[in-house]
């Protein structure tokens, strides 16, 4: 085979690979961590970490990366608790500087898919001039649109500690879907036993996804619903106790009546 023919075949092959790869590989976030929540007590969502409210949760560590890089990330601590119909998440990281406005957004995929288009739901805590606000958003034509504010499902604080760093703390509460609960219209249904990709995004101007500065994606494996230990049925206990007690008395009483009959026979034998 001629050299020129081989070159042409190679060029065509490379072109094919290039063209095909552009179509098959979609844009996606890459999961840096997979976590499983722990069952524990529900923490208070106020942006403050009390002494023991997150103690039962395992502490995970990952990094928020600038743009598409995967090096020199900002370390972030994550804790996750599942309690009743809710999933609770705590995020903490440190920065040397703090701006007038800082936000942390959680983009939620409808599955473990890390494709950008699958992150159809988002929750955001924005701290502006020391005041935090919580927002619910949903994906519409590659833009996240604000829904009505929901109080109580997210809170954050930024505190200066250790004379060097600002500690950023964000607490979220995500309702889990069960037979008793109903999710908001545009929310991802987080059901028991399912796994979802969560993208953690940080920035200063609350405009998603355009103004995301740092981000990372994690997978959360939601646990099956915690089963209550079977309760002792008082009625069954009462019936059992009554049966035992009164059976014992009946036995004694029957024995006593039998003894009386025997006594009567004895008395008759001796002529009474």
């Amino acid at each position: 085979m001629k050299k020129s023919t081989i070159k042409i075949i190679l060029i065509v092959l490379l072109l094919n690979i290039f063209i095909l790869s552009a179509f098959t590989v979609s844009r996606a976030y890459g999961a840096s961590l997979e976590i499983s929540p722990k069952f524990g007590d529900a923490p208070i969502i106020d942006g403050e970490v009390e002494s023991d409210e997150w103690d039962k949760a395992e502490r995970y560590n990952t990094s928020l990366y600038l743009g598409s890089s995967t090096t020199n990330g900002l370390p972030i601590d994550i804790k996750c608790i599942q309690k009743d119909n809710n999933l609770y998440l705590l995020f903490q990281f440190e920065l040397i500087e703090k701006r007038d406005s800082e936000f942390l957004a959680i983009l939620i995929s409808n599955s473990t898919s890390e494709d950008i288009e699958d992150f159809i739901d988002a929750k955001m805590i924005n701290i502006s001039n020391g005041q935090d606000s919580y927002n619910d958003l949903y994906l519409n034509n590659s833009q996240y649109i604000f829904e009505d504010d929901i109080e109580g499902n997210g809170a954050g604080t930024i505190k200066f500690e250790g004379f060097e760093n600002w500690i950023f703390t964000f607490e979220f509460k995500f309702p889990l879907q069960s037979d008793e609960t109903q999710n908001e219209e545009n929310d991802v249904a987080l059901s028991y036993g399912s796994s979802h990709a969560f993208n953690i995004s940080h920035g200063n101007i609350p405009d998603l996804p355009n103004r995301i500065e740092r981000s990372t994606t994690i997978i959360i494996n939601i646990l099956e619903a915690q089963k209550e230990p079977p309760q002792l049925d008082f009625n069954i206990v009462a019936i059992t106790l009554t049966s035992i007690v009164f059976t014992i008395i009946v036995l004694f009483y029957s024995y006593y009546i039998y003894q009386i009959i025997l006594l009567k026979r004895k008395m008759e034998r001796i002529g009474y």
Binding site: L241, T242, V245, F252, Y272
Partner: protein, 132 residues
Amino acid sequence: MSKIKKSEIKNKKKSKENIGYKTVIKTAILSGIFFVASLFFNGQIISLGYFNNSILNIVEILVRTVIILFFFLFLTISYANYRDLVGKPINWKNLMLLFILSIIQSILNIYVFFLTLLGLIFILLYLYLIQE
């Protein structure tokens, strides 16, 4: 002693023991009736609690207590007479057995339990003092 006097004494003894035996039977039957009543009330087969009336609840507690106390009283009289007829007077062990058989009927209700306990202690004290 003449034969007539001996015969009279024997007849009196017979009559006394026949009366004693009849008492054993009668009081045993009465204690049996109260036991059946206790089974209905303390076994919670019949309950006035459905009416959700506090006065009826108090009445029910008192009825339950009184039934157990009568059961204990009649069974004690019956058993004491029985023991008397067989020539072995009733002792504290026998009384304790009757006490336990009575008090365990009230285990499903704490108020009935304490009232019955007080009542049984009162009856035992009364019997003790009378016998002494």
